[in-house]
């Protein structure tokens, strides 16, 4: 058992996926250990409650394990794919609740706990760096651009709903989304330069 776990740990995410598809629990465990933390964090950011975040994360990972959902490497990395599964589950959870209360959290990040990582690998350290870059890029965005992006991505609102919430023309909302994403992309490109 230990040997298989060690072997799985040496594999890239893309190499783990066939093993997960073949119902290898060790490969699944490694996948969870690599991405479970950010998956739970994303779920919590969207649903705003620990029990619900746990439920969403559990459902997302089980769907990856059981449903035969296939990872398509042409559409991005395993991590991006997995996080999109988590996001979709979390947004579905929000929509299933009456009223679909927005989880705006523009100013309440300070109330979120930030706990130290149990163990930080080199890969995790690089991700933290990326996270800091993205946080920096988001922080530099004009408020109106950051707001529409967060309402869409973390709140699950459509552009027409956002236009209604913010009392803006739909074209303005879409334009702000575009400008915001372009700025984040530009910051990331600078970070790589």
């Amino acid at each position: 058992m230990a040997v298989r776990r060690e072997r799985a740990e040496r594999l890239a995410d893309e190499e783990l996926m066939p093993l997960v598809g073949g119902k290898d629990p060790e490969a699944f465990e490694v996948l969870y250990d690599r991405h479970g933390g950010v998956a739970y964090s994303l779920a919590y950011r969207i649903v705003g409650e620990r029990t619900a975040a746990e439920e969403v994360t559990q459902e997302a990972f089980i769907s990856v394990w059981r449903s035969g959902a296939r990872f398509d490497p042409t559409r991005g990395s395993v991590r991006s794919w997995l996080l999109s599964v988590v996001r979709n589950r979390a947004i579905d959870f929000l929509r299933s609740k009456a009223g679909k209360a927005p989880k705006l959290a523009f100013d309440d990040d300070s109330i979120l706990e930030q706990r130290p990582a149990v163990e930080m690998t080199e890969e995790e350290a690089m991700r933290r760096e990326t996270a800091q870059e993205v946080q920096g890029a988001l922080g530099k965005l004009p408020g109106e651009q950051s707001k529409v992006i967060q309402l869409a991505y973390f709140g699950g609102f459509s552009h027409s709903e956002i236009a209604e919430i913010l009392n803006l023309p739909m074209g303005t909302v879409k334009g702000r989304m575009r400008l915001g994403l372009e700025k984040i992309r530009g910051e990331l490109a600078e970070g790589l330069a």
Binding site: P25, D72, A152, H159, M177, E182
Partner: protein, 242 residues
């Protein structure tokens, strides 16, 4: 409306689409446009990292330990059930296939026979080199190299119960297509879960988790997302030693 106008109209919607903020009917229309607009696809590729980076910016939370324990308990229970299924019914992966492919019906038999003929034709045009290493566990370690008639060279490296299939000189699949590997085990063709694509140098690789009982490995071009059964003639068909 000119092509430039159409591009401009949809280009304005790309960011909303990528953030999941278009209405479903708008998203369907945009996806239709994307099939024919390389400029929009290029813009999406450029913006992709920005969207994918958003969850990385979330404040980190420590998931409860019971979440990991619960997930692993379910996974191990599933794996145990799948293992017992292997002994009784010939392997859990067959449940991934539609009934008609499992060999029970006449359609399945026709499919299997057709694939066997294809395999023979390609194998006849291909050369094989087989090297065998020591056996370290349930399966023998071995390497099979097969040069296909279409110029592709396939190398199957068997390690224990699993293996890695490496391809060289593979042409890029047409837009919207990916490579999908298949294994034939006891006369039944099964899909390999991970889809793959060649790099710019024409190299491609995929891992096959369970090679037990497999006598033939094949690769076909399939639509994105993969297929439950092959929809095109194989670009690689190779026999592998038991």
């Amino acid at each position: 409306m000119t092509d430039a106008d159409r591009h401009q109209r949809w280009s304005e919607d790309l960011a909303a689409y990528m953030l999941g903020a278009l209405e479903p009917d708008e998203a369907v229309e945009l996806e239709r446009h994307l099939q024919d607009c390389e400029r929009c696809r290029g813009e999406m590729r450029w913006l992709d990292p920005a969207v994918h980076s958003l969850p990385e910016a979330v404040e980190r939370q420590q998931p409860p330990a019971r979440l990991r324990e619960s997930l692993m308990a379910q996974a191990r229970a599933d794996a145990r059930r799948a293992g017992s299924g292997t002994a009784e019914a010939g392997g859990p992966r067959r449940s991934l296939l539609p009934t008609w492919l499992r060999g029970g019906g006449s359609r399945g038999l026709r499919f299997a026979a057709g694939f066997a003929v294809l395999a023979l034709v390609v194998a006849a045009a291909a050369g094989y080199e087989i090297g065998r290493g020591g056996s370290g566990g349930g399966g023998a370690d071995s390497t099979v190299v097969s040069r296909q008639a279409n110029g592709v060279t396939a190398k199957m490296v068997r390690e224990g119960d699993g293996g890695t299939l490496r391809l060289v000189n593979v042409q890029q699949p047409p837009p919207g297509k990916v490579l999908e590997a298949w294994v034939r085990r006891e006369g039944t063709v099964e899909p390999v879960p991970a889809l793959f694509v060649p790099d710019r140098g024409g190299r491609a690789a995929t891992t096959i988790a369970d090679m037990r009982g497999v006598d033939t490995v094949m690769v076909t071009e399939e639509p994105r997302g993969g297929s439950e059964a092959p929809t095109s003639e194989p670009i690689v068909t190779m026999s592998v030693p038991q």
